[in-house]
Subunit: 253 residues, 2 copies
DNA sequence: CGATGGTTTGACTTACCTCAAGAACAGTGG
DNA sequence: CCACTGTTCTTGAGGTAAGTCAAACCATCG
């Protein structure tokens, strides 16, 4: 898997298809991959796009992790999302025609650029793709609503529990352990995202650790009692679809 | 404008086109209106769809107002949005295939149902429509991010200021006064949406009134010093696009 | 190695919630 | 039109979760 220059068809990665709910057949995936542009890898701290940049493409994360955030007039930032491999960035820019947020690599990351005009064109040709694209955006709306709920109604402990389980699920979906993982972002990014002070975040981790619910050493997290976290996350996390829980003897790692 | 039965082409309302950013030509709007289904008007408290209902259509509000909300396991509700004439409901259901929230009329409301399969089909045939549809969903994501920011970083006063200005703008877009309007929802719906206690909402209105920033009599609101509200909303409300502000000698009413 | 920025910890403050009691309001039926 | 009833709204008193401030600690990195 040689990492070539900044451009060129990205034929070895059908990564984009990972971002989309299943249902596209192989031929379609091939045509998709043809329009992908590979970018040179980003290093920790590198900016993928800035707020106000013209919107030309969406981006699929191949490896690493990024955060997106807006910057308010007084310079403070608000983290709007974390983006892991197999996830998509930039869909919120379609409407304005420019990026309403900034995207920055949390660690060395590899990105596929998907020029949007081509994607739209292809979606017209492939009904399935159109459907998947709409589904993808809808999912983001839906997840934002869950997050709104968390911020509006849940206390600090519940918010952290929800977030940890969310990450756990996302790691698991990539075939990684659901109970042992490395959070690529800083505590202050986490706290910022959850609408809390960094100090509160720190105290929460300590409390969770004292309860024996998890072990955290820097960015390395081990969930020891996912069931307790799920009880906390409780109400709001219940999904209509029978998503498997982590509780009980975990199959992970 | 005779209100017919529950079905039939809704040719007098090109309302759906209102929901979409401008840019569709007349012929397209006509074809769109052909697939619209008119629903019998909803009365205050009527449910448009429930959480978990199968997703078959999205809905455009013609008149009145609705709220959408999720219900957590313990029965408490979280308002996820208010929907005014010219706005769309149900886009968050595309991904799951069922509605993740419940929609209820806040007052007597008239709704157009837009069967989603037909809409997708039409979007395939009309590239412009496809683009507008994507743009519409993107806008919702973008607005949710703004709301996330508000809930995470702003205090109670700022949240209310932001919300009031938001409504003001939405009324203005419909050609109504930006400074005198009637909020169709209860104080507790407002507070719920903003992640506050109803009591706090009540105190906020009093405080704003004491400051002379607005006059409120029940659901009737008069903004007297939009500039002060804008100062409060401040940082987060600044949009890159030069959206006209309300401050200065208002042109409204 | 010291410099820099993230993290932890403690002491203190405060914005908002909770609880509880009235007041205003909206239906509903006489 | 007026009582009657159930909501929604308002107001006050008091408690608490989380923020702020400040200092110590720790990792990373030139």
């Amino acid at each position: 898997m040689q990492l070539a220059g900044s451009k060129g068809a990205c034929s070895d990665c059908s990564l984009f298809s990972l971002c989309l709910p299943k249902g596209l057949d192989d031929e379609h995936v091939r045509r998709l991959d043809e329009i992908l542009q590979r970018q040179r890898p980003l290093r920790r701290g590198d900016v993928l796009f800035r707020e106000g940049d013209g919107f030309r493409a969406v981006y699929a994360v191949r490896a690493g992790a990024l955060k997106t955030y807006t910057i308010s007039r007084d310079g403070e930032e608000q983290v709007t999302g974390f983006h892991m491999p197999g996830e998509m960035i930039g869909l919120d820019a379609v409407s304005l025609g420019e990026h309403p947020c900034e995207a920055r690599a949390l660690e060395t990351s590899s990105i596929c650029e998907i020029p949007f005009p081509e994607l739209e064109e292809l979606a017209r040709a492939i009904p399935d793709l159109q459907r998947q694209l709409l589904r993808l955006m809808s999912k983001e709306i839906f997840q934002d609503h869950e997050m709104l709920h968390a911020l509006a109604r849940r206390n600090a402990e519940e918010r952290l529990a929800i977030l940890l389980l969310n990450f756990s699920e996302r790691f698991a979906r990539r075939g990684l352990s659901a109970t042992r993982f490395r959070l690529p972002m800083s505590r202050s990014d986490l706290s910022n995202y959850l609408g809390l002070a960094p100090e509160t975040m720190s105290r929460l981790f300590r409390r969770f650790q004292e309860q024996g619910w998890l072990h955290s050493r820097g960015k390395e997290i081990t969930l020891k009692e996912p069931a307790s976290l799920e009880r906390l996350a409780g109400h709001c996390q219940e999904r209509p679809c029978g998503r498997p829980t982590l509780s009980g003897p975990s199959s992970a790692d």
